[in-house]
Amino acid sequence: MDGGVRVASAAVQRPDRHAHFRKHENALPAIPRGAGFSFAAASFGSGAESIEVTAFDRVLDFDTRTGQVEVEAGATLGALFEILAVRGYYLPVQPGHHRITVGGCIAANVHGKNPARDGTFVAQVESVRLFHPHHGCLELSRDKEPALFHATCGGMGLTGIIVAARLRTQRLPGASLRVAHRQVTTIAEGAGLLTEDAARSDLAYGWFDCARRGRAHGRGIVVTGQFVSTRETESTLKLPRSRFSPEARAWLPFSLLNPASIRLVNAAYFWSLRRSSNTIVTLADGLYPTRANELYLSLFGRRGLHECQALVPHANLAEFAARLRDHATRAGACITLTVAKPFNGTSDLIRFDGSGISLAIEMPRSAAADRLLPEVDRLVVDLGGRPNIIKDSRLPRSIFEATYPDCDRFRTILRRWDPQRLFRSELSERLGL
């Protein structure tokens, strides 16, 4: 999706019948694929056939007593949202685009709008049905095959193909979100507000302008929101159609983002948010904000963008922000977007979680970005941070191993389950998984 990794001839198949999930011995290397929206190359790789699961899109059961929904892996978050919302339920942890699949969310263990309060996607997974050609289909949960369950949730599709899952939904507290925007002058100040407000917010993130020079550098807006009850209408619970895809993102042959245009866009965004201190937004806009960023992402053109996201301990955030600024200035790199979210969990295996503030930064692909990113890697290691492997398509193995102390345990579980290591992607090869 970020334009960083391309395969010359992609072998993709899109099965639509359960006969595909039969035990057999002569399987070839493969990797499951959902919507293909991840920035890192997690759903394809040379020598591995991508198995797109989007035809398995059914909602099999919804139990209003327990609030649990059983859904096939190819169902999109948007389709599930429309079905759940009319019944008064929703999934608290969801990434920003409604075309992302449930299987992809589990495999990448994505986070939502307030990870400090809601945790990451695994928190709402009750059980998973996993297919591996040598083992057939297996039900996994915290009680049944717990090691494999935990390796599958956030396992980047390397344990096999997630066929279906049972998810824990919650009562939808309202049909809209009241969103407050507060202006801050530094990233550290914003992080303080986010940490303070996380417990009482349904949505909490900060946006910062790191393209500016001088005193305005790092100024930003802290966005917090709560569900509010407004009159529900059919239209507020329907999502607009989107044709966004990795190909659609890259339709522009060149990038329109340069330091001057980025400063202009950021300034306009800052002033537009500053003026609207308290607004009511629809569920669709509140839960799936990336939809509004489709145009922004396509401005990076065919060459694409770099995103990297790191979880930094609270105590080191101010130093991280200051050193990031120095490195960016020295490298001549222009950061288009900086987004912060509060975290308050613990990381397990290769899942992106922990306690601190995550900072995601984006920039156009350029020589300056190539100079900056290794510096950011070193900075993350120095300050006890952890990079997000699903966001960064170039993250080197050495940095991954230095920041994920559990990675060897993940490797051991994986090899015990699948000695032949049938499921592999560009990501798994790069990180030595």
């Binding site: 899109r14 909602v59 919804f62 096939e72």
Partner: protein
Amino acid sequence: MSALVFGASAGLGRALARELASRGENLVLVARNPEDLAAEAAHLRTVYGATVEWMALDASDPRATEELTELAGAAAIRDLFFPIGMGIEEDDGSLPPATIAALVSANLTSVMAAVSLFLPRLLAANVGNIIGIGSVAALRGRSRNVAYAAAKRGLESYFESLRHRTAASGVRVQFYRLGYLDTQMSFGRHLPFPKASVQAIACTVMRNLGKDVGCMPLPAFWRPVGWALRALPWRIYRRLNF
């Protein structure tokens, strides 16, 4: 009132079943694999609250449709949908006899047999729709799908006869001659004409229910393509490699 959908677990059959369920129709789903049928039925019940039954049946087995006899006698089925078909890569005129029998059964005789079980009741009730799905492959025979094209052309002829048989009644017989569809069969293949989405086709079929549309090529651009293909003199057609 119920609708019977053949091939309901994937492709166009799945799209038609979902459209029907969203309109509040009761459904009987028929396909080969019980697991796929159970999953699709669960989806239609959970999402649309539809009343759904299913029956696993292999249309390539000429005798399999006999299992529908009981259903034809009991249920108030008014609409029959046959979005089924079976193509084989090596269909160049030298398939083994058993394979040809299976192919002709899946594309032609199973549909004829199923219709014959339900037709008397539909005529007696003087209401209903019978929807056949053909292929542009039937426009002119070609070396790449010898038996398939023959079976589909037979199906067109059968639906024309059926339309004639029901002309004086309230039963509507419709036939859609489809081009390439965006299904698992065509996934990843580069084809000379665009692939139509099964949802779009299903919507058109739903809109036309109850109308006397006869034989309709879908998407519409296939109509002039069909004329052109049929008008090609043999001297030119024989040289085409497609």
